[in-house]
């Protein structure tokens, strides 16, 4: 058994203007099969990926935002969101989806997956990884 590595997927782009956000989510789901220590980072326009109420029907696009709420089932339970990026865009935590996971070490209690961090805190998260993949 090789050492578990810390993987961080960095999301800096809004969800529908380019394919980056959707592709990142695909890679995260595929990567989740490899039993590594996975975290996601949302900063800059990436925070727009997590907003609630996305309705893509009339735009003719696939709404992939509900998939974020399924990440917990793949043991992806750490979604770091940068406070300054929210502030700059006039967003608060209330504007984001309520994303939770069941903690199997705590009688499957539901716990929030989103962890709001400062810009300096995000730099610390990034510096703590073995592998950083950007989208």
């Amino acid at each position: 058994m090789s050492k578990v590595k810390k993987f961080l997927y960095v999301n800096r782009k809004a969800p529908y203007g380019t394919i980056y956000a959707q592709e990142a989510l695909e890679v995260v789901l595929i990567g989740a099969a490899f039993d590594q220590d996975v975290s996601l980072a949302f900063l800059d326009d990436g925070v727009f990926q997590l907003t609630k109420g996305q309705d893509t029907k009339e735009a003719g696009l696939k709404n992939f935002s509900p998939t974020f709420r399924a990440l917990g089932d793949y043991e992806v339970t750490k979604l770091y969101v940068e406070q300054e990026s929210l502030d700059e865009r006039g967003l608060t935590l209330d504007d984001l989806q309520d994303i939770q996971y069941e903690d199997e070490d705590d009688d499957y209690a539901e716990k929030p997956s989103i962890i709001v961090v400062s810009r300096a805190g995000m730099a610390d998260v990034m510096a703590d990884q073995d592998v950083v993949l950007s989208f």
Binding site: V10, R12, Y20, L43, D44, R119, M122, A123, D124, M126, A127, Q129, D130, V131, V132, S134, F135
Partner: protein
């Protein structure tokens, strides 16, 4: 423990370079490649902010991409070290992780 950050977008196109410099740790290296090399030029609207935000990191620029764009070596800002492709590989191999800012 250090990170090599690469940036491949012009700072006049978007905020990627600024975001990168805002998330570095002291002692990290930042290498500007492709259109990112415009961020290494002196005497423009971005020069000062790049110099001040990059004060705690080592700044590099990829020489072949500078040359390809016809940027005279004299226009590369003080504080930037030019590297070639071999230097790029050496930097990637000697750091703990590479973070590409897209």
């Amino acid at each position: 423990m250090s990170t090599l950050h690469t940036v491949n977008k012009s700072p006049f196109q978007n905020q990627t370079l600024i975001s990168c410099l805002g998330h570095t740790k002291a002692g990290d290296s930042v290498l500007l490649i492709e259109d990112g090399v415009y961020g290494a030029m002196s005497g423009n609207a971005m020069s000062e902010v790049v110099a001040s935000m990059g004060a705690n990191v080592k700044l590099f620029v990829l020489g072949p991409d500078v040359a390809a764009r016809g940027i005279d070596a004299a226009r590369v800002a003080e504080g930037f070290t030019q590297v070639d492709y071999e230097g790029f590989v050496d930097m990637a191999a000697s750091c703990d992780r590479v973070q590409n800012w897209l």
